[in-house]
Amino acid sequence: MSDAALASASPASGAHVRPFYWSVRRELWENRAIYLAPLVVAGIVMVGFLFSLRDLPQAIRVLGTPLAPDAPMAEHRAHGLQAMAVMASQAGILAILVAALIVAIFYCLACLHNERRDRSVLFWKSLPVSDTTAVLSKAFIPLAVLPPVVVTIMVVTQLITAGLATAVVAASGLDTGILWRQLTPTPVVIVGLAYGVVMLMLWYAPIVGWLMLVSAWAKRMTFVWAVAPPLAICLFEFLAFRSHYAWTLVHSRLVDGLAAFTAGGKGKEAVSKLSDIDPMPFLTDPGFWGGLVFAAAALAACVWLRRRREPI
């Protein structure tokens, strides 16, 4: 027997093989935008916030002056505007989420398409990694890697802005309590964001599945193939039957998940205390489970397609 045969027989040689882990790493090497884009947006939000700090003491002064019950309407309005200005920094971090969602859309549309277009799929398939592992590692990025990344970036941004605001207000000799009454308590923010992002990605799982399916199937113009068929169905339904069930379905899939960021999942008020976080509206919604089933079916179809589709 050759040395090579002996080496392959040693137990250590296969022990460290982790195809799924390395497949996920591979995705991150190729798609650094997954974490860079939210970081860049966080940077922009932070810089914008630094500029807004200039006006913060004035806002706190206005908020700290109690209004007389018979104060003119204009003063009430000014009061409200100042309060909103203080909270705007919190709303700004939602831009990080938007950036992440956009990155996720383009990631999903590209992940099974680019490897066929640059023929690298022949290289990946020449390694002992199954199509199932490959597809699941790609779905893992938007569904399991992106949420904690986004939540971390959002929470850190939130902590820094809140800390800086407190420091500026305190340095101006003003009562930080007025600021803190306007801001949501930090633990609530962290739990609320984490819960909201995870729930949102679960709600969007069928969209991830659909986009990946298009990515695995289409030869070109993945974006058009992703968007046009659902719109065509909506249009057809409206023209043929004057109804809009398809549109309602699409619209609810796009929008309803955002309710995870609101109190009780009702879509009205922001989460301001821990008891506002309630997954029951989602867990009892057949659409939520139906979406997950659709996502699983779409990923199974992706595995089937990846086996058969050839380089473009």
């Binding site: 392959s8 040689s13 296969g14 460290h16 190729e30 290289f123 390694l127 990694v129 199509d131 058969r308």
Partner: protein, 287 residues
């Protein structure tokens, strides 16, 4: 057990028949050259062997069903398609990490030692490498895998002569041993003739010639003959005749060497000449 055992292997793309039911057996430890014109079905045959495309007919590679068990098969098989398949964004260092991470039979030290002999920098991306360097990188990855079967599909396409030569030299000197099997398809027949143990000509989805090199050399002979003996030589029915610098070169199939030696200078033909004789448009004395 044969390393590759294909019976009635057939593949159609729509109405185009890429493989018209080929039979091919490759024993362990052989180096088979798969030679054919563009569109002959070489790549299709190799892709079927690797489990990359569905096919009809019976096919066993290392005793496995390639289509059903690709990931299992790939633990023992290496594949180099033409060099363009390494993704351009991949860093050299990451490529080594990845293959080490997913392949149970990959020897990282071997790959790194091979790369150290080249000018490739670990921090470079594939995009920054020349075509020849990409081929070296791919070869470094593949040669560090202790595979039983190595499949090369036009591995040196677009490389200059220096890289082509060192590619095959490395393969033969540093990689090949009697326990491995290599199947290589290429246009550049002349460069690989000396490394092959077997050769198969494939044309329009059919295998038109399948022989070991020993049998090839025993069966075919090339005769260089002056004009005075040409008629006598033609009487022996060469399969091809051509003229070089006023001398006639005739290719014979299965004619005794002793008889040919009476007429002129006899030598083993090149695969390229036989290839043209067997596959090319009918010409010269071929009946």
């Amino acid at each position: 057990m044969a390393c590759i055992d294909a019976r009635g292997l057939r593949k159609a793309y729509g109405k185009t028949l890429a493989l018209a039911g080929i039979d091919l057996q490759v024993e362990d430890g052989r180096i088979l050259g798969l030679i054919g014109p563009n569109g002959a079905g070489k790549s299709t045959a190799l892709q079927a062997i690797l489990g990359l495309i569905p096919y009809e007919g019976e096919l066993k590679v290392l005793g496995l069903d390639p289509w059903g068990e690709r990931d299992k098969l790939m633990a023992q098989v290496c594949f180099v398609a033409d060099v363009a398949v390494l993704p351009r964004w991949l860093k050299v260092r990451d490529a080594v990490d990845y293959v080490a991470g997913v392949h149970p039979r990959f020897d990282r030290a071997k790959a790194e030692a091979f790369l150290a002999k080249t000018t490739i920098k670990p921090a470079s991306t594939v995009r920054q490498l020349s075509k020849g360097m990409v081929a070296q990188l791919h070869l470094a990855l593949v040669m560090a895998i202790d595979a039983q079967l190595l499949v090369l599909d036009e591995p040196t396409l677009g490389l200059d002569i220096v890289y082509r030569k060192s590619f095959y030299d490395s393969l033969l000197n540093d990689y090949f041993d009697q326990s491995r099997t290599i199947v290589v398809s290429t246009h550049q027949v002349e460069e690989i003739q000396h490394i092959l143990t077997d050769v198969a000509f494939i044309d329009r989805g059919r295998i038109v010639l399948n022989t070991s090199m020993e049998a090839f050399e025993a069966r075919y002979a090339e005769l260089m003959v002056g004009p005075d003996r040409l008629d006598a030589a033609l009487a022996l029915k060469p399969i091809q005749a051509r003229q070089v610098f006023g001398r006639h070169i005739l290719l014979f199939d299965g004619v005794e060497r002793a008889r040919l030696a009476e007429l002129g200078e006899v030598r083993a033909p090149s695969l390229a000449d036989l290839f043209v004789a067997v596959m090319g448009p009918a010409q010269g004395a071929s009946a």
